[in-house]
């Protein structure tokens, strides 16, 4: 089973994301900010990170920078999932090492499409 770390300071968003990702057969762990997410990654890297941008303590962008520099940190697919919906932020995320980018609000179809896009799930699965 593939693993996904959901990083968001809203417990509601984490819960919705968890339900969708478990439906796509991911084993889900949660973190409420970048610092906590980094601790988890230092112990074990997930296959995927669904990552909010604005969070207290350490934001998503900074977290991604630290995670990418961990041994094997280039492996996880990072999918931003944020209300920041302008080109400047998207471009910054991509050049900082993000694989995909979701603009909130999101739903199951968008998550499935984006996860299929980066090869985390087979394309067919995105269609059910």
């Amino acid at each position: 089973m593939k693993t996904c770390l959901v990083v968001d300071d809203s417990s509601v968003v984490r819960k919705i994301a968890r339900r969708i990702l478990e439906g796509l057969e991911f084993e889900v762990t949660e973190a409420e900010d970048g610092a906590k997410a980094l601790e988890i990654c230092q112990r074990q890297l997930p296959d995927a990170v669904l990552l909010d941008w604005n969070m207290p303590v350490m934001d998503g962008f900074e977290f991604m920078g630290h995670m990418r520099r961990l041994p094997g940190g280039d492996q996880p697919k990072v999918v931003f999932c944020t209300t920041e919906n302008n080109v400047a932020h998207i471009a910054q995320a991509l050049s900082g090492g993000a694989n995909e980018y979701i603009m909130k609000p999101f739903d199951k179809d968008i998550i499935a499409d984006k996860f299929a896009e980066v090869g985390l799930i087979p394309v067919g699965q995105a269609m059910v």
Binding site: V87, L94, E100, Y101, M103, F106, I110, A116, V123, M127
Partner: protein
């Protein structure tokens, strides 16, 4: 809705758009047509049927368009677009190296995601198509979806269905909450109203025809009729691309599936092409691909 009204609407829809409803789709008709009737100031389905019988033109169009399913996404099902990039276009580039032009038809383009996905694929091919004339014709029955396709403006939700984020950044311009596809890509596509039930010989012949997720709504005879007429509009070495739930198998031998490439078909008998009268495209808008 009385059984007579339902039968009338079923036949009306089949004759006007090909839509083949089974005997138990009353709920579908009601959910789509009641709001339309109310908006037109009519009391309900009964009065709507009377107006249709009286031949009210605008209402006829509205009813037909309200019953079509327009759902579509960028790079829908992904695989056909991989085939387009990795198989179809390389073959065409080889075969048309002399005349350096390619004609592509999206036969049910809906709100434009499919033709624009093809345009993006072509753009991504870059230098391989430098100096080529590329023509994409996108047709649909519905004027409403064509208008949207022409404008090329999509909601944040729509641009997140199937479109890789790099493509969004590269080929779209953000205005507030919406995203518009770049003028350069819009200029690659010609949008036209066309009912597949009617004659389409005037479109000329194509190297590639995408006809996806529209034939599923039609009955067998209509499908066969359309396949046979599509076969006359395709180059002998051209490609037909169907939707995931569609096939020619068991319906016609004018096309044959390409093994190992799901959804891809080739015309069957190249000799038939020789007997075909040469057809000139009506006012083609040719767009030369600029170098990258």
């Amino acid at each position: 809705m009385t059984p007579t009204e339902y039968e009338y609407l079923r036949k009306f829809l089949k004759d006007s758009s090909g839509l083949d409803l089974s005997a138990d789709k009353q709920y579908l008709i009601e959910s789509r047509l009641l709001p339309l009737a109310r908006k037109a100031g009519l009391s309900g389905i009964a009065e709507l049927v009377q107006k249709l019988q009286a031949g009210s033109r605008t209402l006829i169009t509205d009813v037909v368009e309200a019953m079509t399913t327009n759902e579509t996404f960028f790079f829908r099902d992904k695989v056909p677009f991989d085939h387009f990039r990795d198989h179809i276009m390389p073959e065409i580039i080889k075969a048309r190296a002399g005349r350096r032009s390619v004609r592509i038809w999206c036969a049910a383009g809906s709100t434009g995601q499919e033709p624009y996905s093809l345009a993006m694929c072509l753009k991504e091919m870059g230098a391989a198509l430098t100096g080529w004339r590329v023509e994409i014709i996108a047709t649909d029955l519905s004027q409403e979806v064509l208008e949207k396709a022409r404008a090329g403006v999509y909601s944040q939700f729509e641009v997140q269905r199937g479109l890789p984020i790099q493509m969004l950044v590269k080929y779209f311009k953000q205005t507030g909450e919406t995203w518009q596809i770049n003028p350069e890509l819009r200029a690659m596509i010609q949008h036209r109203q066309l009912n597949l039930l009617h004659d389409f010989a005037q479109l000329g012949t194509f190297d590639v025809i995408f006809c996806r997720n529209v034939l599923i709504y039609f009955d067998q005879d209509t499908k066969i009729n359309i396949f046979n007429r599509l076969a006359r509009q395709i180059e002998p070495d051209g490609f037909l691309v169907l939707g995931a739930a569609e096939t020619v198998v068991g319906l016609t031998d004018t096309f044959k599936p390409i093994p190992e490439r799901r959804g891809l078909y080739k015309p069957n008998d190249p000799r038939a092409a020789a007997a075909r009268p040469a057809l000139a495209a009506a006012t083609p808008r040719m767009v030369a691909m600029a170098g990258q």
